[in-house]
């Protein structure tokens, strides 16, 4: 069983690491290509440049090689252009048949689903087997404290369970070494520590539970049955049920309804009276009567006004959408109190920056970069009035004023999953230890004899 587990874990680690390495290379190359395209677009009106725009590509951490999280199901790139917050496009999942989607073999799947199974099979007989064979009495007669026996056997199980994590660790190290990429984290060490600690606690929980169940039931068959039911419920059923039930926490709009609402509001003209007032104030400020005589370019001011109007609408609609998603995430995380797999999955994808919260961080950062581009272009137009009816033009010196998009995820301490998922995981571990103590006490007192 352990050999099969290591084989599966190695397969998962190798395939995911190769995939992440390929993705990292493709994104880095594309990001460079886009940057040089932006810089060498030649002389043109800055607003045309704003429409020309740039694509940005989401960075991946090497931890994504262990837990790809939602990466395949969210687009990896977005076009930053004038007037519009575009959606992320090209989800990897759209190019796949979906044949292995449900139980996709990744290192995270190995650790979250298969490692507990291996622990169960290796450990369900630690006390139940002794009981069934009638050797428990001899064990008690040796004078060894049962708690020490349980701890030792649990520790051995944990070591065996952690052996399944080894291929993942090697895969991450190899990816990190093979691909000298800038980390998208400001707190990489903390994340690795949370990631590792989360899995150690999770596997420890299964080891403790396995030993406790083995000590509390009368035979091997019952021990195995109880543990398998617990595993199937925790690792296979509840993670899916959690997110399905979470749908009732908040309703997400259909794509078309979302777009329609956004476009309808964007289509409404911004207050023409306000625009007239602003124009009049500007004319008064510079003591002229015609916008052509202004020392500033009215079209730049007008474009900036249009962008500000759009920004408000985008913020309103996207904020509502992301709030609804967060409400669903929160609702799904409540099942962490029942399923350690839900808890560790939440913690793991948070540490690897592959959960929805981190994706939203990137969406917001990309949108902020779009606004920086628009502001740079519109400011330039504003301070450079058209001359003799000829529209102002920008060149490389202007394009390079837009700094390359460097994204870093927010520190993990702000991540809600730490509490939403970390706390239940800890509580479940404590509960399983309490269960073990009670089971061992009952065994010692004679319940098993």
């Amino acid at each position: 069983m352990l050999l099969l587990g290591v084989l599966i874990a190695s397969t998962a680690a190798i395939t995911t690491a190769i995939e992440v390495k390929g993705t990292l290379a493709a994104r880095a190359a594309s990001q460079d290509a886009e940057r040089s395209r932006w810089l060498s677009q030649g002389k043109k009106n800055p607003h045309s440049a704003a429409h020309y725009g740039v694509y940005v590509f989401k960075p991946l951490s090497t931890l994504a090689a262990v837990d790809p999280g939602v990466e395949k199901y969210v687009g990896s790139s977005v076009w930053l252009e004038a007037h519009k917050q575009n959606e992320f496009v090209y989800r990897a999942s759209q190019d796949e048949s979906g044949a292995a989607r449900q139980l996709l073999l990744t290192p995270a799947f190995t650790l979250q689903v298969l490692a507990p199974l291996a622990i169960i099979f290796l450990g369900f007989g630690v006390f139940a087997g002794e009981r069934e064979r009638g050797t428990l009495r001899s064990l008690l007669m040796t004078g060894a404290p049962l708690s020490a026996v349980a701890t030792a056997r649990g520790a051995v199980l944990l070591c065996l369970g952690l052996a399944l994590a080894l291929p993942s660790v090697l895969a991450v190290a190899a990816t990190q070494l093979a691909f000298d990429t800038t980390s998208p984290f400001v707190d990489g060490g903390v994340r690795v520590a949370v990631f590792a600690l989360g899995y150690v606690l999770y596997l420890a929980l299964w080891c403790v539970t396995t030993v406790a169940v083995s000590a509390s039931v009368s035979n091997l068959r019952s021990a195995l049955a109880v543990l398998i039911v617990a595993w199937a419920a925790s690792a296979l059923i509840l993670p899916r049920v959690a997110i399905e039930l979470a749908q009732s926490a908040a309703t997400l709009p259909s794509t078309q309804a979302f777009r329609e609402a956004l476009e309808t509001e964007l289509g409404e003209p911004h207050d023409p009276a306000e625009e007239a007032r602003e124009k009049a104030a500007l004319l008064k400020l510079y003591g002229v009567t015609d916008i052509k005589d202004l020392p500033v370019n009215w079209s730049g001011i007008s474009l900036a006004r249009g962008e500000a109007h759009g920004d408000q609408i985008f913020d309103k609609h996207y904020r509502a959408l992301f709030s609804a998603m967060d409400a669903q995430s929160r609702a799904a995380a409540t099942l962490s109190w029942l399923s350690p797999t839900v808890a560790v999955a939440g913690l793991s994808s948070a540490a690897a920056a592959t959960n929805t919260t981190h994706h939203v961080q990137y969406v917001n950062a990309a949108e902020a970069q779009r606004r920086v581009i628009q502001k740079t272009m519109n400011d330039f137009i504003t301070v450079n009035p058209d001359k003799e009816g000829k529209r102002v033009e920008g060149e490389r010196s202007l394009w390079s004023q837009v700094a390359p998009f460097q994204f870093r995820f927010e520190p993990l301490q702000h991540e809600p999953a730490l509490v939403r998922n970390g706390l239940p995981l800890l509580a479940l571990l404590i509960a399983s230890i309490a269960f073990l103590i009670v089971s061992i006490r009952r065994l010692r007192v004679g319940g098993a004899l």
Binding site: V70, S77, V89, L105, E244, S254
Partner: protein
């Protein structure tokens, strides 16, 4: 035969007395019904958003027609003074590139509730624009990403992954229990062989459990209206029942082989879950990994770079492109306007066609890679009953990638039709406008009132009709039979050493 009947009868009675068996069946049935409910919710949600999109299209068409009628009744009205042609439904330029709203809807099949498949990843409807396929290609339905990533809890999830666990658990004690309790010796005296006992027990348990499962699910699906009570609904359910029974037959074969090879229930448990891991987790993933390795789909990041390069090239070559376009379509060439003075809006579709032409090779590489992957998956899946059943369920539900590809091919045909329509309208309008230019949108120029003539999408029968499952599913039964043969051979070998035979305990 007589023996077999009594063994089956006795075993069934024993199983019904077992509280664990009843609890297990109750749990699986609850999960299956919950899965069916989730499938129904997904099907309803898809249908509702598709209907909403169609209603939006119809409303937009009605609004566009009404506005054009009102506009051309008196274009000088003050309320039209601020009208901008690029946002006007009464102007062919504004209508073509901004205001025209069309959706292509993938019809839902009668068995949609039976498997969510890829229906949450691949949209049930797409917006189609005359200019390019981009809007259709990049359309997604809004879903919580974690919901997509965790995999959906539906009926096919229960049948594909939980049901084998249930069958293996039910059959763990087949023969092994009789060996452990030495009952096998008594039965041997009565002329009951190990193979007969094992096969009868496994078949009794798997067949009775499977019949309960398919009956409960089918009746619930019909009673709740999740599957329509018509010929298509009946066909879909019948298909689902047959695939489920074939899949169960395969797992029955696995149970027989495990029972033949393992002496005790503990070793049978190890073997059963090992088999589950290999067949349910490892094999489908190995096939998927092999498919992506042998037929890798190019990176979408590279696609973006290629499309940007192509767009740059088209823009750089704009003048030559316009010249070529009018050489190919002399009937649309403007008589008085120099080519470099032709409005970019009038030649915008020509640029879009050129962009497509430049990207054709890149697009083809994606299509080819996907087709190669699917072909490989198809041929390799014969060794994986999980893949066979998963594919069959998705096909029955109409929520598979192949049907979506067929739908998208139709969407492409529709988009070309739409583009040709608008191209002709734009060019004829440009000619009219050249002959008699008017300062605002006018019927003698770019004015447009033919909204009802714009082509609309109609799904073909190929996408609309009942999906047929192919004969590959018979491989599941074939593998089951092979396992049975393996078990028979294992039990007849005189030197057979069963795994997990208890070691003699020293005195």
């Amino acid at each position: 035969m007589n023996h077999a009947f009594w063994i089956a009868w006795y075993d069934l009675k024993n199983q019904l007395r077992e509280r664990g068996t009843l609890l297990l069946m109750a749990a699986v049935l609850t999960l299956a019904l919950f899965g069916l409910h989730q499938g129904a919710k997904q099907a309803t949600a898809s249908a509702t958003s598709a209907q909403a999109a169609q209603a939006q299209e119809a409303a937009a068409l009605a609004r566009a027609q009404a506005y054009a009628t009102q506009f051309f009744a008196d274009p000088t009205k003050p309320e039209h003074a601020e009208a901008k042609w690029w946002r006007s439904t009464a102007d062919i330029r504004g209508y073509t590139f901004r205001e025209h709203l069309a959706f292509a809807v993938k019809p839902s099949l009668a068995g949609a509730v039976l498997a969510i498949g890829q229906s949450d990843v691949l949209p049930a409807y797409v917006r189609v624009k005359a200019e390019s396929m981009d809007s259709a290609r990049t359309q997604y339905e809004i879903e919580h990403p974690a919901r997509l990533a965790s995999g959906r809890f539906d009926l096919s999830f229960v049948v594909l992954y939980i049901w084998p666990l249930a069958l293996l658990t039910l059959c763990l004690s087949a023969l092994t229990h009789d060996r452990e309790t030495q009952r096998i010796k008594t039965l041997a005296i009565q002329g009951v062989g190990e193979l007969q006992l094992l096969t009868t027990q496994v078949v009794t348990r798997t067949a009775s459990a499977s019949l309960v499962l398919v009956s409960v699910v089918a009746l619930s699906a019909l009673a709740t209206g999740a599957v329509p009570t018509n010929a298509d609904g009946a066909k879909a359910l019948l298909g689902w029942v047959l695939v489920t029974l074939a899949y169960s037959a395969f797992w029955a074969g696995v149970c027989v082989l495990i029972g033949a090879l393992c002496k005790t229930r503990s070793t049978a448990a190890f073997a059963a879950f090992g088999a589950w891991l290999v067949l349910v987790v490892l094999l489908p993933n190995v096939i998927a990994a092999a498919a992506t390795t042998l037929a890798p789909v190019p990176s979408r990041e590279a696609y973006i770079v290629a499309s940007r390069d192509a767009a740059d090239a088209v823009n750089a070559d704009r003048q030559n492109l316009v010249a070529r376009f009018y050489d190919q379509h002399p009937e649309w060439r403007l008589e008085k306007t120099a080519l470099d003075k032709v409005s970019p809006t009038v030649t915008r579709l020509a640029r879009a066609i050129e962009l497509e032409r430049k990207l054709a090779a890149v697009d083809a590489s994606f299509v080819t890679a996907r087709q190669n992957q699917l072909r490989f998956m198809d041929s390799a899946s014969v060794v994986s009953p999980v893949n066979l059943a998963q594919h069959a369920f998705s096909t029955l539900a109409g929520n598979d990638l192949m049907r979506h590809d067929a739908f998208m091919a139709q969407v492409r045909g529709y988009q070309v039709k739409l583009r040709d329509f608008f191209q002709a309208e734009l060019q004829l309008a440009a000619k009219r406008d050249e002959a008699a230019p008017c300062p605002t949108t006018c019927l003698a120029g770019f004015g447009f009132t033919g909204h009802h003539r714009v082509p609309r999408f109609v799904a073909s029968d190929a996408v609309r009709s009942f999906a047929k499952i192919n004969f590959d599913v018979l491989w599941m039964i074939g593998w089951g039979v092979l396992m049975f043969v393996g078990a028979a051979v294992a039990l007849r070998m005189p030197s057979q050493k069963n795994f997990g035979a208890p070691k003699p305990v020293p005195a």
